[in-house]
């Protein structure tokens, strides 16, 4: 849910990066952190295991700039991908304004993508959201790997509703900002509609 602060002149939105484990969600946030000016970002917090797998979430607050004198602040979260962390994922989806689904393009991860997508649909419903209505962007990540499925094939299988799709290589930053921008745009357009 959006927090509109007329006192600090800020609009605060929550964007969640969802998807199968090891798909590149944390890497997306790391890249955004690297390319954002220090004055426009807060500390990046990663609640991870010893082996650097996301345990609870990653959190990165960024300021995208001003519109009409209001700072547009986005709180970016990732969820842990592994199936058994479902309880944590539900918590992170509370009050979400938009979702980025980071799909792993590798052939052997197809089932994991599909499972995660249906898990997203279920968990959103549980929080009172509808995947068909919420701001949503699909990212096809790991396009650089030789075992990546053709993008057209992935789109056929993973597209939910004609959402924007971006091909990405997250560690190189390819497609990362475009994905964020498309998601932020949808959130803001939605906000304008409801205002």
């Amino acid at each position: 849910m959006t927090f509109i602060n007329y006192v600090a002149r800020e609009i605060n939105c929550k964007l969640v990066y969802y998807g199968p484990g090891l798909g590149g969600k944390t890497t997306n946030l790391q890249h955004i952190y690297q390319i954002t000016n220090p004055e426009n970002k807060g500390k990046m917090i990663s609640l991870a295991t010893e082996t650097e797998r996301t345990l609870f979430f990653d959190f990165l607050p960024i300021d995208l700039g001003q519109i009409r004198g209001f700072s547009m602040r986005f709180h970016l979260y990732t969820v842990p991908g592994q199936v058994f962390y479902d309880a944590s994922r539900k918590l992170i989806l509370k009050g979400v304004d938009g979702v980025v689904f980071v799909a792993d393009s590798q052939e052997e991860r197809l089932d994991a993508n599909l499972e995660s997508l249906s898990n997203l649909n279920l968990n959103l419903k549980e929080q009172g959201f509808d995947l068909n209505k919420i701001p949503y962007v699909l990212q096809l990540n790991k396009r650089d790997l030789p075992n990546a499925l053709p993008a057209e094939r992935l789109k056929k299988l993973l597209l939910v509703k004609g959402e924007p799709v971006y091909e990405a290589v997250a560690p190189k930053g390819v497609g990362v900002l475009e994905t964020l921008k498309a998601a932020a745009r949808q959130v803001l357009v939605e906000l304008r509609k409801s205002a």
């Binding site: 509370k94 921008k181 205002a195």
Partner: protein
């Protein structure tokens, strides 16, 4: 406006802030912080300038959400208070109206019993303010934005494009 969005105006902020100021002074604590359950900061007071409030807000909200999850697992409707004791600093996190959350940071010189008691009172005051303003917003339904503040929502698609152009 989406019914679940939280909107904070100056008058409401001043009321909330004065409650926090009073609590902070009376207890002599390092920090008192009011946030929503999604981890957005609303107001704070206290001399602890070393603490990253954005990070604290997000982690406290997540902590409370996780604790709620734990409560449900063992058949409790909620655990409404969380307390973490450190060597020098302690953190007290508690629910306000199921929608907000209060975070207090204090050192070993402050008594936990006193903190608990004061938090009860402070929570009651805060809830009153939230109730009052919820009622006000309802009566003004179509006038959610006061005429003296420009709406931040009449932006164009070009305005959005410019966001990333810096």
């Amino acid at each position: 406006m989406n019914a679940s969005n939280i909107v904070l105006y100056e008058a409401e902020y001043q009321r909330l802030k004065s409650i926090l100021v009073k609590t902070q002074r009376e207890l002599g604590i390092d920090l008192i912080l009011l946030i929503d359950r999604d981890g957005h900061q609303i107001a704070s007071e206290g001399p602890a300038q070393d603490i990253d409030l954005t990070a604290l807000s997000s982690l406290a909200a997540a902590n409370l959400a996780a604790t709620d999850g734990l409560a449900r697992l063992v058949g409790e409707p909620e655990f409404s208070i969380l307390y973490h004791q450190g060597k020098h600093r302690n953190i007290h996190i508690s629910d306000v109206s199921r929608r907000y959350c209060l975070v207090l940071v204090f050192d070993e010189k402050v008594s936990l019993g006193l903190v608990r008691l004061r938090v009860k009172h402070t929570t009651a005051y805060l809830e009153e303010v939230f109730k009052l303003f919820a009622r006000k917003t309802e009566t003004k339904k179509n006038a959610a934005v006061p005429s003296n503040s420009p709406s931040p929502f009449d932006f164009t698609d070009e305005d959005i494009d410019k966001l990333f152009g810096r």
